[in-house]
Each structure stands twice: as C-alpha cells, then as structure tokens.
C-alpha cells in the first residue's frame, strides 16, 4: 500500500504512514467515516423507498398514458372523472385501447383484531389495467360478484393467510358490510400510505363503494398503438379532452410528478429530504473533526517540514492523502453495513429499500468531496503561521 501510494504521489506517502502509525486513531477515524456513510445511505434509502413505493403501482400499469382529473396530486387522491372521457379518448388517432380504473380504500380486519389498510383498484376484468393480470388465471374469477385478488406484498398479514391464498385456497373476509372472497394474488408491495393493494372488478367496486357510480372512474388507462410515442399521444389527448376536468400525461410523467409532490409537499418526503441534509452535515463534521485533530497533533512535524522549505501545497497534499484514504477505506465497511441494514429494514417494513447502482458512487463522491473540503479547512491554520511559532 505504501509503495503504491509512493508511486502514485511521487513522494513519501507521509499521510498514509501517519495514519497507520496510530492504529487506534486510524480505526476510530474509519469508524467515524463509515458511520457518516451509513447515516447518509440510510436517509437516501428511506427517501428512495418513498420514491420507489410511489412508483410501484404505476410501473405495473398496462398503459402508456394516464387520463386523470385535472386536480390530481397522487394516484389515490384523484377525483372522479366523467366516463365520457374514456370514449372520447378511444376516438383519438393512435389510441389502441382504454380502460377505467376505480380507486378506493378499505380496512382489512386481521384475525388478531388489528387493521390493515388496503388500497382497492376496481378494474374491467375484460381489459385488465395491470400488466401482471395479463397471464393471471384468476382474473376470470373477478367477474363474479365480491371476488378479489390481493397483493402478496401486503405488510404484516397475520398468520399464513397470503401463502394459503397463493396455494389456491380462497380466503373470505368482511369489509364495507360485504363478504369478499380472495381467490388469488399479485405483487405490487405496500408503501408509506398503504399496507397493500386489493383488485376487484368494477362491479364489485361499486358494491363496496355505493357512493361511487359507474359513470365516474378515477383514471383512464390508455394504450398507444405500436409506434406511437406516449408523449405525442398525451399531447393529442390533451388537445381533445377538456382541461377543466381532465389531463392526459404519459405514465412516467405522472409518476415523476407524484414523486415530486410526495418529496416536496408531504411531510414524510420532507423529513427524509432533511434527513439527507442532516446526515451529510453530521458526516462532514465527523470527517472534519478527524482531519483537524490529526493536523493539530502533527503541527510540530509540519512546522519542521515548513522550516525545511516545504510549501503549503505539500501539507494540503498530506491532508488530502489522508482524506482520500479515510474516504475510501471508510466507505467500504459503510456500504456493506448499509446493504445489510437495508435488508433488515426492508424486511421489517415491507418497503422497497434497496441499494441502487448509482447511490454508492454518489455517496463516495460526496465523501471524497467532504473529506477534501475538510482537509482544506483543517490546513488553513498552517498557512500563515511562522514555523517558529508552531514548535
């Protein structure tokens, strides 16, 4: 390592030798950097889980463009839309098909008396709105009244209910004064606002939610003809549909808009956003402390080097060298522990908490940057001092 750094730096790797000389301090400095990394990774993970869980139902939609009420913020809060818009959409050039989506919420009382909140999708069984229903043999069952499919990713279901449903044993529970029979499963996964999802036919939906009526779905899912871009189709639909009650946007645009809404307008998103900022600050302070203490402890040696004739850049080089070693060596345990913690939290919360490809690079880059800046500040004291005053 020493030889490699000597080759890399073209000088004696004083920073490295200094770090490994005091093993206990090196270990605690590494622990500090790793801790700062874990802190930031966890906050990024939570934030990512929020973004991911928002995107989950959209990703499964068998659609290119979504027509929703013009005041929609989230998939769940979109108001009813005149069904007329569906027929108007079908008349637009480039539209292959369109299907309604009704959206409601119901409580599922568990065997132990606790409640799971489920988001309910009412769909047309003849034109299923979700991709995973295309080859789901149970879809036909939905045409029967009061039959449903449940999200196998539903959080904290008591007992082996989901496993039994998956094996093909129908499961009945009461909700909204009706007895629902759950005959099969699909997978979306719960989020921050719901424990899981339930899919019923539009007819069953209207029985569960008698205040809703068939003429007003929450969304209309539009499929484009092959070769027609979602963006172009959305523009064409927008031109036809009245803007005062509806808007047509590509599904990925809707997803991005809801993610932006959740992260900037809703408390949970802002909490995690602040968490990232605080984590970065705390991490920076830890790194600065480590480097500043190290500079203070070696002031005498640095003063001697300064007396010999070394320039300020040389000391910056030593501290940068230390900063880079700490950043990289602290990052490795940090990323490993974070991945393990992600798994633990994902298991405990059923949230889509996972390491993305780019996140480690972002954190490593941020760590290098913070270590570098800290090193710059830490060596400032050395810059103007008379060497004789430092002994």
């Amino acid at each position: 390592m020493s030889g490699f750094l000597e080759w890399l730096l073209g000088r004696l790797p004083v920073g490295w030798l200094q770090l490994v000389h005091n093993k206990a301090r090196f270990a605690s400095a590494l622990a500090g950097v790793a801790f700062a990394n874990i802190l930031v990774f966890m906050q990024l993970g939570f934030f990512g889980a929020l973004m991911g869980s928002v995107a989950l139902p959209y990703q499964q939609m068998d659609a290119d463009v979504l027509i929703s009420s013009s005041d929609m913020n989230t998939l769940a809060d979109a108001g009813p839309l005149p069904r007329q818009r569906l027929y108007e959409a079908l008349a637009v050039n480039g539209v292959a098909d369109a299907t309604p989506l009704y959206y409601g919420k119901l409580d599922w009382k568990q065997a132990d008396g606790t409640i799971r909140g489920l988001d309910v999708f009412g769909i047309d069984p003849a034109k299923p709105a979700f991709r995973f229903l295309r080859d789901n043999s149970k879809v036909k069952v939905l045409t029967l009244a009061d039959h449903a499919l449940i999200d196998i990713g539903t959080r904290n279901v008591v007992g082996d209910v989901l496993a039994r449903i998956e094996r093909g044993e129908p499961y009945a529970f009461e909700a909204k004064g009706r007895t629902l029979s759950v005959d099969g499963v699909f997978r979306i996964g719960g989020g921050f606002t719901t424990d899981g999802y339930l899919i019923v036919s539009d007819q069953t939906f209207l029985r569960l939610f008698p205040q809703r009526f068939a003429g007003a779905p929450n969304h209309v899912l539009v499929k484009a003809q092959p070769g027609v871009a979602a963006r172009d189709l959305a523009d064409r639909l927008s031109a036809v549909l009245p803007a005062y009650d509806s808007q047509a946007r590509p599904v990925d645009v809707v997803t991005a808009r809801e993610q932006a809404f959740q992260s900037t307008q809703r408390p949970v998103g802002m909490v995690f956003g602040f968490g990232i900022i605080i984590g970065t600050l705390v991490g920076s302070i830890i790194v600065y402390q480590v480097l500043a203490t190290d500079v203070a402890d070696h002031l005498k040696e640095y003063a001697t080097f300064k007396a010999i004739g070394y320039r300020q850049g040389f000391f910056l080089g030593i501290v940068f060298e230390e900063a880079m070693v700490l950043a990289v060596a602290g990052f490795l345990p940090g990323v490993v522990i974070s991945v393990l913690l992600y798994r633990l939290v994902a298991k405990a919360t059923s949230l889509p908490l996972a390491m993305t490809m780019e996140r480690p690079f972002i954190v490593l880059f941020g760590t290098l940057l913070m270590c570098g800046l800290s090193g710059l500040v830490a060596t400032r004291r050395l810059a103007r001092a008379n060497p004789a005053d430092l002994f």
Partner: protein, 224 residues
C-alpha cells in the same frame, strides 16, 4: 564577495499591544563564509529568536538580514521558502516525524529539493546516517531510538541537502560529550571542505573552544 549572513539593525518584539515586549535591540552581525559562529547568552537573551529570524522561521519586523544575498525584510513567502531550502536547521528538540523511520525522516530533507535530488536517495540517506554513526539504525522509528540517536538523525536531515548555512539551536544538548564533539567536527569539516557556514546557539564549553567566533547576547543586545 558577499558574506553569507549580514545582519544589521535588527529589532524584534513579542506579544501584542500592552504586552508587547522588545526582545532584540539593534543587532549587527556579519558571519564569515565557512566559519563556526557561536551565539551565547542567558536564557531570554534573544539568541534563539535571532537564530529563527536568520533561518526564515520568523518574519523580520525591523532591520535587515541579508541571507545568501537575499534580503529577508519584506521578502515574499516564495523567497523565504527558497531561502529555507538552502539552509540546514537543527532544532533544540529533534522534531523528527514519529511515523517515519530514520531513513524516511532524512529523505524528507532531500525530497524538498525535487525529483532530481531524489536520484539515488537511498544511498545518499544511508551515507549521511552512517556518517553520524547510525548505520545500524536506518529503518528504526524515532520511538525506538535514544535521545542522542534521534538528535543525530535530525543532524543528518539538516545536512542531507548540502546546505550553505547550518543553523543549530543547542544541537548537542541531547548528545553525550563524545557524539556532541563528533557533530561539531563534522560541521567544521564541512566548513573547511565545502565552505558551509554554521551559526549555533550553545552552552557547551567544549564547542566554544572550537568556535571561530563567539558572539555574546544579553537582554537582546550584542555585548561582545
């Protein structure tokens, strides 16, 4: 030919405002090339301050010091750095880097002169360490060396760059009589062979015997 060190009218103060205290008054001193000049005086007489001013380790506030042809009064940081590289400074405390071996500490004195100086650095460092009697201790960390051995590493570090002037602040304080004299002999030999000039602060009577000139300071003034 210009003298290596010409000090004239140097005054110096320590502290700020009310606590400001003058430590040097109108110092005039010319040091001859290749000579061994010794500064003596009680503690607080200002001899170390004078040495650090001449060694570019402190900024000159009043007066003039011409070091190897460079005026230090108002000199830029770059000029001071250039001067420091032509000096060899031996400190009262050895000031070795605890994380570096004897060889590496000496190497630091050579590396400052750039890539060209680093050719055959191993041989050069080993040679100068051998000349101070440390051939058996090349790869020891300072913690494994005695006080005298550490001081000899510091001497080697000061001499590795072939300095034109050696400034030494009680270099023999940590050395036994024998090795103290060895160091002085070495400096005198360098003076004869290469014209290396030495300015040294010391109380060591045996060194005074071998000095070319003894300058005595008292309360910030040269008295003889």
């Amino acid at each position: 030919m210009e003298k290596p060190l010409v000090i004239s009218g140097v005054q110096h103060w320590f502290g700020e405002a009310e606590a400001r205290k003058q430590v040097l008054y109108d110092i005039d001193l010319v040091v001859e090339k290749g000579s061994l000049t010794v500064l003596v005086g009680a503690s607080g007489s200002g001899k170390t301050t004078l040495l650090t001013l001449a060694g570019c380790l402190r900024r000159l506030e009043a007066g003039s010091i011409r070091l190897l042809g460079q005026e230090l009064y108002g000199a830029s940081e770059e000029q001071l750095i250039a001067c420091r590289r032509r000096l060899g400074f031996i400190f009262q405390a050895h000031n070795l880097h605890e994380s570096l071996t004897a060889m590496e500490n000496v190497r630091m004195g050579l590396e400052v002169h750039g890539v060209a100086a680093m050719r055959n650095w191993r041989e050069a460092c080993a040679h100068v360490l051998t000349s101070v009697g440390l051939s058996e201790r090349l790869h020891y960390l300072p913690a494994k060396l005695s006080g005298g051995q550490k001081q000899r590493v510091a001497v080697a570090r000061a001499l590795i760059g072939n300095p034109e002037i050696v400034l030494a602040d009680e270099p023999t304080a940590a050395l036994d009589g024998e090795s103290g004299l060895q160091v002085v002999s070495m400096l005198k030999r360098l003076g004869r062979e290469r014209g290396t000039t030495t300015l040294m602060v010391t109380h060591d009577a045996r060194i005074l015997d071998r000095a070319d000139r003894i300058v005595s300071l008292q309360d910030g003034r040269i008295i003889g």
